[in-house]
Subunit: 575 residues, 2 copies
């Protein structure tokens, strides 16, 4: 929905003014649109593009070095007039003639053609390439009648690059024609769009439905379905475009620029999720992806929709696509040439890197994994109770957060165990998974605690009682670094007594199992005693006055876990 405008009748003009004000480095305002603000060598071809407004960055956003020399900017979704087109062409032209390129729509054809006649009568040679990439808009045997959508960018880009090379008007025209012949797009829409001040949307798509093949001005598509998954949409788009590979091209081994274009309200993150599948499907078809684009390149105001373009390269088109460009909305080739890292460093590392442990430490790792499994079970059993406790003074998500964290840690630990990690590595992996999936403060704290524990335990030996006590103390310190102190009514109220009891028992000569049992009892007693504490100011989000009398869920979940781990340790000791 369009919300920001002054007089709707002035919208397109004011948008053009603002666009130029924001992009003076590249463009200047001329009659009918914009032209470059920079010099071009005499005798080079001027690629002049254009069409209705509402498709930013098409068309003004694509004016600059290596791309268009000027853009005629019509009213919203309406062709510029012949006079506007001619005005832009006169300003943009610098002695090498003019190539008009634009999407194939009746109004644009009418006005650009009229402008071409005027310019020719003034002695300026003009050629025209209409972009016809939208495969839905006419059958393949009537390809010249197809509309132009995001494939505009491919044709404009290579034409602009060829012009920059100083090629003749006929050469630039031939390159643009070949690019158009080798560009195919297919789009879908999920919503219409509304123009400034309009009482009704210009067109509509029913909620949760998808119009297949709808054009960028709401032109009727070929079908309507429920919105598929991102993967399903990618399959639909790729399959349709692989169905119509240009003559003489073999998809397997072909080099292709994919452009996944958002029409306005489909956001980048969604586009990336779809692109992930597009890239995989193209790879499966043997297509080699070259410098893809994912983003908003030819929009339809705030319409929700997506189109996929495949631009089937040849050597010359690839060179021209990769050539530098510097415009308000499309830039290629950085000011600084950065060297690429060696391939070995570029490989995705999606997990943390943990080596194998000594045989001794692998045995300890198995016990730690069993402890994490027990933790997961006890949290599962008490998830509702922990949530209810948290709802009194917090936002009620402690149970769910602990459940997500313990589940993820358990799964990650089991997976790591299969890879032969030591106890330290296993705890590092579990820490990572817990904090990542649990989120929130409890996730951060449990992640830090497990990480510190793992760091202290290491991957080489079976730790002595004293070393376990040191590890527990390191974990406690890591938690205390988050800032809570005993008495704040947090997990720390149970953790600190646990740490003290464990250390004290070990110093008195207790075994790990005995020390742990004693410490777990201390944690339980302290957790129950949190019922008498007042939450620290600022911690309780709601109903703070009711919080006295309720135990702290962080302290209670800690006590539950250390209690259940006692059993695991005793089992281990009994073996």
């Amino acid at each position: 929905m369009t919300r920001l405008f002054n007089d709707p009748a002035d919208f397109a003009d004011e948008a053009a003014d603002g666009f130029v004000l924001a992009n003076q480095r590249w463009v200047r305002r001329v009659h009918g649109g914009v032209a470059r603000a920079t010099t071009s060598p005499d005798g080079t071809v001027a690629v002049v593009i254009g069409g209705g407004s509402g498709h930013y960055p098409a068309f003004g956003g694509l004016v600059g070095h290596g791309l268009a020399a000027g853009a005629a900017m019509g009213n919203l979704f309406a062709s510029p007039s012949a006079q506007q087109v001619a005005g832009v062409a006169r300003a943009a032209e610098h002695g090498g003639g003019v190539l008009f390129s634009y999407g194939n729509y009746a109004g644009d054809c009418l006005n650009f053609d009229a402008a071409a006649r005027t310019l020719e009568s003034e002695g300026i040679p003009v050629r025209t390439i209409r972009v016809t990439d939208d495969v839905v808009s006419a059958s393949a045997d009537r390809a010249a009648e197809r509309r132009g959508i995001a494939g505009d960018l491919c044709v404009f880009k290579v034409a602009g690059a060829a012009a920059e090379e100083g090629r003749s008007l006929d050469d630039v025209t031939a390159v643009a024609a070949r690019a158009n012949d080798r560009t195919r797009s297919f789009g879908v829409a999920f919503s219409g769009c509304s123009l400034p001040g309009a009482a009704e949307p210009l067109f509509e798509v029913p909620e949760r439905r998808m119009a297949i093949g709808m054009g960028i001005h709401g032109e009727r598509g070929i079908d309507e379905t429920d919105v598929p998954t991102a993967e399903g949409l990618a399959s639909l788009l790729v399959a349709r475009l692989l169905d119509e590979v240009p003559d003489g091209v073999d998809a397997a081994g072909a080099r292709v620029v994919p452009i996944l274009n958002g029409l306005g309200s489909v956001k980048y993150e969604e586009l990336f999720v779809v692109y992930r599948s597009v890239a995989r499907l193209l790879e499966e078809a043997g297509v080699v992806v070259v410098e893809p684009e994912v983003g908003e390149l030819v929009t339809s105001f705030d319409m929700a929709g997506v189109s996929l373009t495949l631009f089937w390269l040849d050597d010359e088109l690839e060179r021209l696509w990769a050539a530098p460009a510097d415009t308000p909305a499309f830039r290629k080739g950085g000011a600084v040439v950065s060297e690429r890292l060696p391939e070995s460093e570029l490989e995705a590392s999606d997990g943390i890197d943990v080596g194998t442990g000594s045989p001794e430490s692998q045995e300890v790792a198995a016990r730690v994994a069993a402890a994490l499994a027990a933790a997961r079970r006890v949290v599962d059993e008490h998830v509702d109770e922990l949530g209810e406790m948290d709802a009194v003074a917090g936002d009620g998500d402690h149970g769910i957060g602990m459940q997500r964290g313990a589940l993820a840690a358990d799964a990650a630990a089991r997976e790591a165990l299969g890879r032969g990690v030591g106890a330290g590595g296993l705890l590092a992996v579990a820490a990572d998974a817990w904090s990542d999936k649990a989120g929130g403060t409890s996730g951060a704290i449990w992640g830090a605690a497990l990480e510190a524990l793992g760091r202290a335990v290491g991957d080489t030996s079976r730790p002595s009682s004293a070393q376990v006590a040191e590890a527990v103390h390191a974990a406690t310190s890591a938690v205390l670094a988050f800032g809570a102190v005993p008495g704040d009514k947090t997990m720390v109220d149970a953790l600190v007594p646990f740490d003290e009891a464990f250390g004290s028992a070990v110093r008195d000569g207790a075994s790990v199992a005995d020390a742990w049992r004693a410490a777990a009892s201390a944690a339980r007693a302290a957790a129950d005693a949190t019922a008498d504490l007042v939450p620290r100011k600022g911690r309780a989000k709601t109903h703070a006055d009711q919080a006295v009398g309720t135990r702290d869920p962080g302290a209670v979940s800690f006590a539950l876990i250390v209690e259940t781990v006692t059993e695991v340790i005793e089992e281990g000791a009994a073996r």
Copy 2:
């Protein structure tokens, strides 16, 4: 509304995968987020940014030369874990230490701080600058508690540029701190956003209302009003930010980077309309605008909203802001240094350039202007009738289109007359205005006809009868160039008989007035006779079968206009 996803639980991860696949030139996947795919000199500082996902291009889109070395990417609107942050920092770090910079949110502070402790324990020095630009989120005397929004970009950019210069960790930190001190943002929202798979929006703003100061995760603002005009919104944003100029800075004469940031569903054209007013208001306040940014820089998924950031420069910050950067979503400094056109050529030329006419031609111009005024009146009188005729075989907009065109031509002609133009210039101006405002086919045709007429008449002399006949014939040829032929049931059916009758009468020695009267009669008879014609196939859009028996609106409006112009010519002749 988010529509494209697979399993919602995997959304952020899959988006990160797709993002990396689409941007392999710049970034590689590392544990917890992304790092540069390019080399950096040993010993340089790594600026590591991050935060929740859903804010693209923040944060992964800002990784690359001249900006961040890595970005930790959490789940949707959720902080990355300490382990993820540390993972990214380890991968991004190259011997000069790490500067963490991120928006000031509790979860991010918790996890980045925990990661900093881990990294420091590993011997990697870490500094932190939290961005606090959102003026609404806390009062000026508690500025350190403010949230970070689009001002993130200013801080990250200058820190990245300083790191690229090889400055020390303390230097880079000091620069980032100063940038943060001199950056202020203020935002509004018009709608909430919905995360993948969520049944309900995460937060909402009532339809046609504006939440003033709402944060990028829907944090409560300070007020709610009706959505103002674009100008009204610009005033609100600029006024609030000029109210809080950094200490020691005088707004008048200050150099400032304005960033007008769209949060997701407010589109570029709307942003440009608002920016037009922002630029003017800043200029009125004496502020000098430096390299502004208008677009989507820190988003909030598909939330509709806008924020304005003012970044108050000093010499060093300006140099660092202007330094090259090359990242997936933010690039500065083209690969090619283009020379700027001389100032005289950069001035906006919003109208067509028409000189003054000879005194004789100025007299003719006055009669032409009177004819255009008469045309406007007669079209006004018959607008409904023309629309009804068009509705039978077309889309019913012929009357309105002719009305808009004639009105614009009349206004432009009167304005041009005051500037002393000749008849040719006046017709050129009128042609331009008509086609621009009328739009559609009739606008294009009338524009071309008036332009050809003006070109033939010129600006120097009073045309003879023969010259007027030539001009009429030139205008007719310009119309025929659009492709219609007599018998197609178009304006041409009246125009061609008019041209023939006029030429014939002049050749027989008739005065302009007499020839025009005869030609207008011929046009009227021919227009009435279009009732008997069948529209050319493809022309009639609806109810084509009913079109026989209805006159063609284009032919009728032409006849009406030339009839009424007869009176103007006779008046002129009678003087």
